[in-house]
Amino acid sequence: MKPAPFRYVAPRSVDETLALLAEHGAEGKILAGGQSLVPLLNMRLARPQVIVDINGIRSLAYIRRKDDHLHVGALTRQRAVEESATVRRQMPLLGEAIRFVGHPQIRTRGTVGGSLAHADPSAELPAVAAALDAELVVRSPSGERALSPGEFFAGYLTTALEPTDLLTEIRFPLLPERTGTAFVEVARRHGDFALVGVAAVVRRSDGTIAEARLAFTGVGPGPVRARGAEGRLAGSAGTSRVFADAAREAAARLDPESDIHATAQYRRDVAATLARRALELAWQRSGGRSR
């Protein structure tokens, strides 16, 4: 299998990348880990004229805690996130979810920024970014801007990124004490894209839910935050009944598509069950220190 002919360039810096993107405009395409783009090229579903390979920009691969955020460079390999003690300690939701992304042999190449910029509707990381209220840092010829997940994800395989933009960093706000998180997913086989995935964040104050966040993947054109259910959970007692009701309410508002893998109704049912499990797990984990 051969991709259609293209020309290739491997810039060594962010500035050089931006200059190349500006020069080649909509004909150019950024190649990061390539685990989604190269299949599209191999199958000739995508035919960019110019591939701008950013894998040589070492300065875009890092995981560091600074002030009250975890900063992850866009070119950080998913495998590095998975193996990072900093991630395990500071942002366990990210580490838990990333193990659902493909397989180890995919995660050695796949990048955090690439997965977000590709914006597959069943991908795990967009839901994680949504649940954690991450900031997506974008560089363009005119400067730098930070987008919320709501601003960044614009629909099916679509983001707010312009052809001249480069996603450079993802900033995850550190979670306060007594906050628990969980990521659960159902896929036909482990490593496949999710039928449904759920990310939950729950902060407790004694027996009460101080704050809850719930984000779904696989049930819409992009990640879906369940704001209504989140509002109802805040201030409620952390009981199984409360979590089950909130999960059902959140799932009922979803509008998933049917495809060969699952009907819309099945996805909604799975979403309700997974949301309940994710909330309960996050609640259990909120017991001690921020986990």
């Binding site: 491997a10 397989h103 180890p104 042999q105």
Partner: protein, 181 residues
């Protein structure tokens, strides 16, 4: 092996002038290590590493199944890490060290992981085997005593239509015991 890192240089283009934007190329001359030997070739940039290994270097041990990253047959080691060679362009390997299945048994003696596959029915038709072997070798280099969870996680990135997988799992467990590292 990675001491030979060499940057990819455009073919037939004079030395780069400073401050000029790099020009996208259709072919490039690349240099990298394959199974311990330095290789320099001029390749079309759209050629995947898998096709390059098979067609340009004659290393046909690396098999191509799905060519979109699902089956794992084409898995090779890039600087020691398992990657899909169908999802990497050859030019992206410039300066890197590649290991293919041909590197496992340079002489007549099989690699301990290969021996374990043979003894535990870890293969039947053998099409998927090169990928399984490379992932297993990478796993066992990092973990002399891998847990079953680690073995399954690693093998989960590969498809086999013959064995039903149990023999492969058993082979990797056995290789962990027999491979003197």
């Amino acid at each position: 092996m990675s001491s030979d890192r060499v940057r990819a240089t455009p073919a037939r283009v004079p030395a780069r002038r400073k401050r000029r934007l790099r020009e996208p190329q259709s072919t490039m001359t690349i240099q990298f290590m394959v199974n311990g030997e330095t290789v320099e070739r001029t390749v079309e940039v759209r050629k995947t590493l898998a096709d390059f290994l098979r067609e340009d270097l004659g290393l046909t041990g690396t098999h191509l199944g799905c060519e979109h990253g699902v089956c794992g047959a084409c898995t090779v080691l890039l600087n020691g890490e398992p990657v899909r060679s169908c999802l990497l362009f050859a030019v992206q390997a410039a300066g890197a060290a590649i290991e293919t299945v041909e590197s496992l048994a340079p002489g007549d003696a099989l690699h301990p992981v290969q021996t374990a596959f043979r003894e535990h029915h870890g293969l039947q038709c053998g099409f998927c085997t090169p990928g399984f072997l490379m992932s297993a070798v990478a796993l066992l280099r990092d973990h002399t005593v891998p847990t079953d969870e680690q073995i399954l996680e690693t093998l989960g990135g590969h498809l086999c239509r013959c064995t039903g997988y149990q023999g492969i799992v058993e082979a990797v467990r056995a290789a962990a015991r027999t491979w003197q590292r």
